[in-house]
Every structure is written in structure tokens, then in C-alpha cells.
Amino acid sequence: MTANPIEFITHLTGEWALRFILFTLAVTPLRRLLRLPDLIRFRRMLGLYSFFYASLHFVTWLWLDKDFNLHEMWKDVVKRTFIAAGFAAFVLMAPLAVTSTKGWVQRLGGRQWQRLHRLVYLTAILGVMHYYWLVKSDIRWPLFYGTIVALLLASRLAGAWTSAPHSSMRLRLAGIQRETKDAVTLRFPLPSGTPLRAKPGQFLTFDWVIDGRKLTRSYSISSSPLRTDFVEVTVKRQGLVSSFLDRDARVGLTVEAHGPFGQFCFDKKLHRNIVLFAGGSGITPLLSMLRYIEAAAVETEVLLFYAVRSEHDVIFKKELERLTLRLPHFRCVIVASRPGPDWRGPRGHVDRERIAQEVGEIGDRTFFLCGPAAFMETVKEILASMGAHAGQIRQERFTVGAAPKDTTAPTYKVEFVKSGGQFAGSSAESLLAIAESHNIDIPYSCRVGQCGTCATRVLEGEVEMETEEGLEPPRRAAGYRLMCVGRARGDVRLYA
């Protein structure tokens, strides 16, 4: 303490309030910079520390300076710019402290909460102004803090421009609609005023928590991306998640979702004439495109091939019938490979003959393919042989269900430099899966090569990626590879 304890306490508490604001604001850029997404765990605590010191600062002033005379206090606030700035900074922090709990995040919804908590930017700016206006002549410290605030805010602007506009949100299951015997549509309301801003054809990634384990699955959005009231995904029930959904999926269940992600998108300006190929549950992103075309009244010529096993497997049958009536430029060809005797539509496969017959000229059409890998491969070959070039063919890359265990694939040494472990890993498994099976933490989100969260630097060896849409070219050049879709092609050393 100095000879002036009032001033000492006032300055100390004020400075720490400002410092903790800066620490709080540093969390997001540091997470990105150091690739430590777990730092998010400290953000709430740092923010509350700042509010704690700001409260002490405020009370010190109110008590020791103003003697709890609220009238005098208010006179000072109104009269003196620097006090007004400090007071405003403090008042703005209060709602953020109150709503800092998980409960409030859920009550407000992720987006709303995030929007509210952007007030912290204003608090930081006001805090620095408060300090700057206080000092008499030596402005080094206020300038120092001001520079840091400017950098932290600039990093956010830069981040907003360079990264995809996706985010995480907590969604609440509000409706379950059975589509076929093994497909259900899950409906999640969107918090009011927070459109998803998805493009038609994109997907969301869900973190299901099943028996205490986090299981991540990505699902195409099946509803129109223009809807602001809800979002729907259609899920084919198979495997672990499906039995979980059978057992636990009830209205009211909440789930963390990320996205929207994905490059498999319809663009009304580019795609004037499109042909959609759906195999089984691959119909979902294509239905979203159709619903978008309907809602936005886009004048695009659409032809849909929909390959199913039997008439019982046609998801969205009614919806497709409705769309056929509604959309003047839409045609739908459902091909069943093993239909019942009552099936009146075409039988067999989506083969060359049928495509040639329905499509005619390849022209400048764009082809969207979504379905099992073999289905997409076949269609792609046919289209290529008909003269379509690679740029005309778009396909959704995520495979349905887990990749089959390939025991014949060669095994390589995989070394994780930061965690300090070396393991034998199959070249059939993704490096992310190998890391996870040895409890090595690599942050991830979409798991399908779209979001870039899992990008990790490869120090040595070759990694082959199924897709690299989520990897910006500069990072690729710097040696980063996407772990979720990356497989070892020899011994590798990873900076993870």
C-alpha cells in the first residue's frame, strides 16, 4: 500500500478489472493461435474475475470517494466523461456476469447469448477510455492497454472475414417425424432472430452424448435453409447413434451442434440447370436444395434421380409429389431396384441408358451426387463417359456410417510429437481416429474434412486426405493436413 490507500485500492482494482477483461478477450484468439480450443474453459472464470475487480473498484469509489451518496455519485457520472465511461463499462458488465452460466446460455440460445456477450467489446473500449481520460500527462499505460484492445478486436474482425460463418449452438429437439421404417426427421427450433445462414446442401455436426461418451455425427439439413424458425435433419437409423435415438430421442433432448458446414451447395446464380442423383438417404441435402428452390422461387431446371431399394424406402415421398406439382421446372425419377409388385415406376438401377434418356445433352448442367460411395462412383463414371467434365460434378463426400475395418491395409508408425507417443496405426483408419484411440487430443468439429478444426502439421511422412475442402491453401502449404479425413501413407510424425 502507498501513503494513499484509497487511491492505491482504486487504481489496483481498476487495473485488474481492465487486465482481466483483456485476458478474457484474449481467449478466443489464443485458442485459434495456439490451437488449444480447451482454453474456452477459462473464459467464464476470467470474465467473472474482471467483474469482481470492477465491482470492488466501483464500491471503493462509491464508498470512499462518494460516501454512498448516490446523488453525488450520479452527479459525477453525468458531469465527468471519464467517470461516465467507467460507470458505463461496469454497468455493461453486470448482465454478462449474470448470464455467464450454462443455464443462461441454454435459456438465451447460443447465438442470442453470444450477441449479448459482445457487449464486452464495448466494456473493454470504455475501460481504456476511462483510464486514458484519468491520467494527467503520462499516457503510456492507457496507450499500452488501448493497443492490446485494438489488436484483440482486430483479430476478431480478421477472424470474421477469413473463417467460415459457422458456430456452435445448443439445439433442443422439438419434434420427431418418422419418414420410413428406418429414417426419422428431427426438428430443432432456432432461437428467434438467429437464422442459420446455411447454404442449400450444407450439413450440421452433432455431438451426441451417449452413455457419457461424445459421439460426433454429421447430418445434411433437409429443411429449407431459408427457414428461420427451425432446422430439420433426416437421420437413417443405423448403428450406435440410431439405437441411442430409438431409446433416448425425446422432445426436449438438447444437443450441441456445429455448423453449417459443407461445400456441396446449390448456388442459384451459378446453377441454372441441375441434375440431382440421390442414393437412399442421400436425398436429404438434395431435398433441402429443392425446398430452397421452391422458397426462393428460383428458375432453375431440376431433374432428380432417386435410387431406392423398394417403394418403402422412399423418404419424403409426399414432399416430392408436392414439389413436382409446385415447381414447373422439376422432374423426379425414382428408380427402385427391388420393388414390390405394386411399384409402377422404373425398376432397376440408375444406369447409363436411363441417364442418357432423361438427361439428353450434358450441356452446361451441373450434377449433384449424394449417396453410397459405390453409387456415386458409378454415376460419376457414366457422366464422365457422356462428356461431363470434373467441374460439373459435385458430390457430397461423407460416407454413411463408419468406414469398414480393412484388416489388409498396411500399418505404419504414427508419432505424436507434442503428446509424446508413437503407435502403430492402420492406413485404413483416419489419423484422428488413431489419435483418439490413444487418448491424444486433437480438436475437431465436423469430422468430414469441411471445417478445418482438426488441421494438424505433419512434420514427416505423407498423409493422404479424402478431401481438403476445409483446408486453406496457405495452411496446406505450411504442412497442415486434415486429421479427420487424413490417412497415413507411410510412417508419419505429427505435431499433436
Binding site: T2, A3, N4, E7, L64, D67, D76, K136, D138, R140
Partner: protein, 306 residues
């Protein structure tokens, strides 16, 4: 006139200062122990005459007055001067009195110490920042020195300048004010008996952070008028510039009389925080020296001439 008793117990004489300070340090705690200055080896000033101009209020502790200083040449924080002025060279020291005077003179510090009987004056000291202290200064009225130089009839103001040397004051480059520090008084203010040419405090010579070896103390004005470590006094015919007025003319006027009715633009001047305490007290007009000085400002708009 009061006659001092010979060999009065000095303020620091009861307990050796070093012990006294280290005892405090224990109380204040670990971090403060590092901030405490080493005991200043101030020379005892003999035969101080008690002044009738002293206040009866209890002086602050010497620690308050030596660890909490505004002396921007030695850093802008309150704690820095005690550290950074430690090796400030105050000898030899010459104060030049010049300008509108019949006998311009350069006074050595030794001469200044013997020019007139040294008095102990306990003054209230009010900083423009809203804190105050009570200090037993040692010195005599500035008029004693000025008289020796015989101001001419043209002299209407005094302009005073501090010592400035970046080599000894490296922190001064961050002070944010123009240096050397300059201050000024109207001649009648400078000749007022309360205006003190100060060479010591607490019965000893001034520690560097308090303006060694010689400073001004103008108790009815805000502390920044009480210029420290002065080297030049120039009598002039028109109002001289003053450092804080140059720095921020909207906030700091030439007169800067303590005035609870005229707020600093950024804070109220109605009350003050006496160092060592936790409660604010009302600030007095002219810092409580109104009876002696108010007549100098009769008819002046003190709101305009702040």
C-alpha cells in the same frame, strides 16, 4: 516571536528511522517492503525556529511524505521518485535570481541556508488530484531572498524554473509535460509571508523526492505550484508560463488557488483525502489560509482566474 527550545527531540529521533521504517514494513507486508525507500540520510537542521504560521494539525508520517510524491522528472507514478531520485546530485547547488532586479545574484545553497533564520512551518498541502498532507517544512519566506536582489518597479511576477538534466532524470522523457518545469507567482503572492522558500522538512534537509535541496511551498495553492529543486528565479513584468497550464490550459490555470467551489474538469475539488486516512474531508477555501491571502484576490473572478 517564539524562541525555540534548544535540542528539541527531532521527529525521527524517538526511534532510529531505519528501525521505525522496517517495523512499518512488517506491518504493511511483504510487497510494500520493496517499495519503501531506504532511510534518507537527511542532514539535521539545527536551531529551527517554530513559526506562528504553523497549523495545529497533526503532521503526516515522514513515510507518507517521502514515498508518495509527484515529481515527474523522476517518473510519473507516486512511488517512482523515492527510488529514482535516490542518487540525485544536490551539491553544489546555485539559485540564480535575475530579471527585473537591481542586484541580480547567484546564491549558493550554503548562502541560502544562512540568509535568514530557518523556521519550522507546519502547513497543509493540497494536491490538485484531491489528496492532502500536513508537513513540517523548514525554511523562511521567499520574500527574504527576493528582497536581497532588490526587485525593480517593473517587476510584477516571478518566474521560477526547476533543475532539469536528462542524464540524472532519464524517466523525464516519459513525463508527458514540457521540461524544465516552470512555475510563476504574482509578485505580491511571492512576497506574501506564507510563501516559503523551503530547504527541509521534519527537522532535516529535504530528501531528493521532495524537491531537494531547495523548493517553494505555497500552501494556499495546489501542490504543483510549489515548484521543486529550483535553480532560477526571474522577476518579470508580465505573467510567466507555468508547466501544467501549458500542458492542459483547460484544467490548470495560472493561479491554481485551492478552491472547493471550482471543480477540476475531471473531478470535484469539494473534498480531499488526507493521506493516512480513509475518510474524505471538506476542502477549505484557499486551503484554510483565506484569512491571510484572500485580500490579494479581492474583486477577482476566481472561476475565471482558476
Amino acid at each position: 516571536m517564539l524562541i525555540a527550545k534548544p535540542h528539541e527531540i527531532p521527529y525521527s529521533g524517538v526511534t532510529p528511522k531505519r528501525l521505525y521504517l522496517s517495523r512499518r514494513a512488517l506491518l504493511v507486508g511483504f510487497p510494500a517492503a520493496f517499495l519503501l525507500p531506504r532511510a534518507q540520510a537527511g542532514a539535521r537542521l539545527e536551531d529551527l525556529v517554530k513559526s506562528p504560521l504553523s497549523t495545529g494539525e497533526k503532521p503526516n508520517s515522514i513515510r507518507d511524505v517521502t514515498t508518495y510524491n509527484n515529481f515527474y522528472e523522476f517518473g510519473t507514478s507516486k512511488e517512482q521518485p523515492a527510488q529514482l531520485a535516490k542518487n540525485f546530485k544536490t551539491s553544489p547547488w546555485v539559485v540564480s535570481v535575475e530579471g527585473e532586479v537591481s542586484k541580480p545574484r547567484r546564491f549558493s545553497l550554503e548562502e541560502i541556508l544562512k540568509l535568514a533564520p530557518l523556521e519550522e512551518r507546519i502547513y497543509r498541502h493540497r494536491c490538485v488530484e484531491g489528496w492532502s498532507i500536513v508537513v513540517p517544512w523548514a525554511g523562511y519566506s521567499l520574500s527574504e531572498l527576493l528582497k536581497r536582489a532588490e526587485p525593480t518597479s517593473k517587476a510584477r511576477f516571478v518566474a521560477i524554473e526547476s533543475f532539469y538534466d536528462l542524464k540524472q532524470m532519464p524517466e523525464a522523457r516519459h513525463a508527458g509535460i514540457e521540461l524544465p518545469y516552470v512555475e510563476g507567482l504574482r509578485l505580491d503572492e511571492a512576497m506574501h509571508p506564507l510563501a516559503l522558500l523551503c530547504v527541509g522538512m521534519y527537522g532535516e534537509s529535504l530528501p531528493p523526492q521532495d524537491g531537494a535541496p531547495v523548493r517553494l511551498v505555497v500552501p494556499w495553492k495546489y501542490g504543483f505550484k510549489s515548484i521543486k529543486s529550483l535553480v532560477k528565479i526571474r522577476l518579470v513584468s508580465s505573467q510567466p508560463p507555468s508547466t501544467w497550464n501549458i500542458t492542459n490550459p483547460h484544467e490548470y490555470g495560472f493561479y491554481s488557488n485551492v478552491n472547493p467551489q471550482v471543480d477540476h474538469p475531471r473531478w470535484s475539488q469539494a473534498s480531499e483525502n488526507r493521506l493516512g486516512g480513509f475518510r474524505r474531508r471538506k476542502t477549505l477555501m484557499f486551503n484554510g489560509y483565506g484569512d491571510q491571502v484572500a485580500q490579494m484576490y479581492a474583486g477577482m473572478d476566481l472561476r475565471k482566474n482558476f
